[in-house]
Symmetry: C2
DNA sequence: AAAAGTAATGAACAGTGTTAACTTTTTAAA
DNA sequence: TTTAAAAAGTTAACACTGTTCATTACTTTT
């Protein structure tokens, strides 16, 4: 069945080329500026062809969403080696923030935009947000490990993990949306957003440290 | 000049009616479903008439954005009376979260969407995000008041305030975007988002408390 | 060679924000 | 009161959007 195989490979290839084109447009011009027609022009196919490979536009951005989570998990990989649970937790936070700053559009797609989540709800097999689950599970396990060595005494690890995620996500979300920038210009008359986030994270780290 | 005045009042009236129609559509159907044409149909005017009162669509949503901040400040008003700075700080956080849960669309408009911020950048008088400034200043002053009675020793109030805002914003943002819902269904097999946020906030409050 | 199946497309639908040119209404001056 | 100017509002159009349907071009199977 070598012919059949080649055909399948060709199909998969076009699927990938569509996604690559979509990613390119998305990362250079943003979501709203990424239209089906522009993607089609990029790969030199008719717009309707895209619908043979992806259900609709949300299907495409959901594919990018999944890809983003793979990249994030790759970023997290080296942290597994960090011995100290608390150092690992802090590194996790810093890594998460760095990801948001280096891939703001991807971050927005993964953690801010509603469309991919709506896609999940509609095409529901109920339990399908594996990527997100794995990432949160890593955080959760790290929190539990911290408890083993005396941190977060008397606190529910689920709530601790949730609070930690919300904190760093809050910083990143304010950054990618431009709210941090506007706020800092007005309130602090400064432009060093990265420094501000760095310092805010240090405060958070102090809080966590003091639970020991 | 009574006639001139009446005319001005009439113009202001139509401006308001446009905004009311926009708000109604926005709150019932969301931003994307709120088109200029639909707003026009709602107030029974031609679509182009709207452009005589608002520069463009972003101008309208920026007006809603400002209105939202007025509502938020009204919600904060009673908290001024809270004597204890730390109690005030906690009440501020709870109040902020309650606002996000009761007006999720408005919250999204005010703190998540990029468009109003972009509108600010384009129509720049540089320093024009008064509403946001006032709200953050209130938080900042409360943090300083807390320091006066022994909290946050050795910490920069700016960074403490930033961290606090990021934390609660993170919770709210994950709620309004649907990420919290998906995550909880997958990881905790639960639907009680409000309870989760409540508990996460309690953890944060514990952190803050422990700085005394 | 004819039939069946697949891949790709052109044309169209119903909608979007926005602008230019035109018409109607209102105001002010002669 | 008539007339000219200014303001308010509308129609038609442009250049887009996501998406669907009928049709063509090509490949494989019978």
């Amino acid at each position: 069945m070598g012919i059949q195989e080649r055909k399948t490979r060709h199909k998969e290839d076009l699927r990938k080329r569509i996604l690559e084109a979509a990613k390119k447009l998305f990362l250079t011009a943003g979501y709203d500026a990424t239209s089906i027609r522009k993607i089609a022009k990029e790969i030199e196919f008719s717009p309707t062809t895209i619908y043979l490979y992806y259900k609709d536009k949300r299907d495409i951005i959901y594919a990018l969403h999944r890809e983003g989570f793979q990249v994030l998990r790759q970023n997290f990989q080296p942290l597994m080696q960090v011995e100290s649970p608390f150092e690992r937790l802090k590194a996790l936070g810093r890594c998460y923030i760095r990801f948001a700053f280096t891939h703001p559009d991807l971050y927005e797609l993964m953690f801010v935009m509603k469309d991919p989540m709506e896609y999940l709800e509609v095409n529901c097999v109920e339990t399908e947000w594996e990527e997100g689950e794995r990432v949160f599970d890593f955080l959760l396990q790290t929190v539990r490990d911290c408890q083993q060595v005396g941190y977060f005494k008397g606190l529910d690890p689920n709530h601790v993990a949730m609070e930690a995620w919300a904190s760093v996500h809050g910083m990143c979300a304010l950054y990618v949306s431009g709210h941090l920038k506007s706020m800092m210009q007005v309130v602090f008359e400064s432009d060093d957003q990265e420094g501000m986030i760095e310092n805010a994270f240090r405060v958070l780290a102090r809080y966590l440290e003091s639970t020991k």
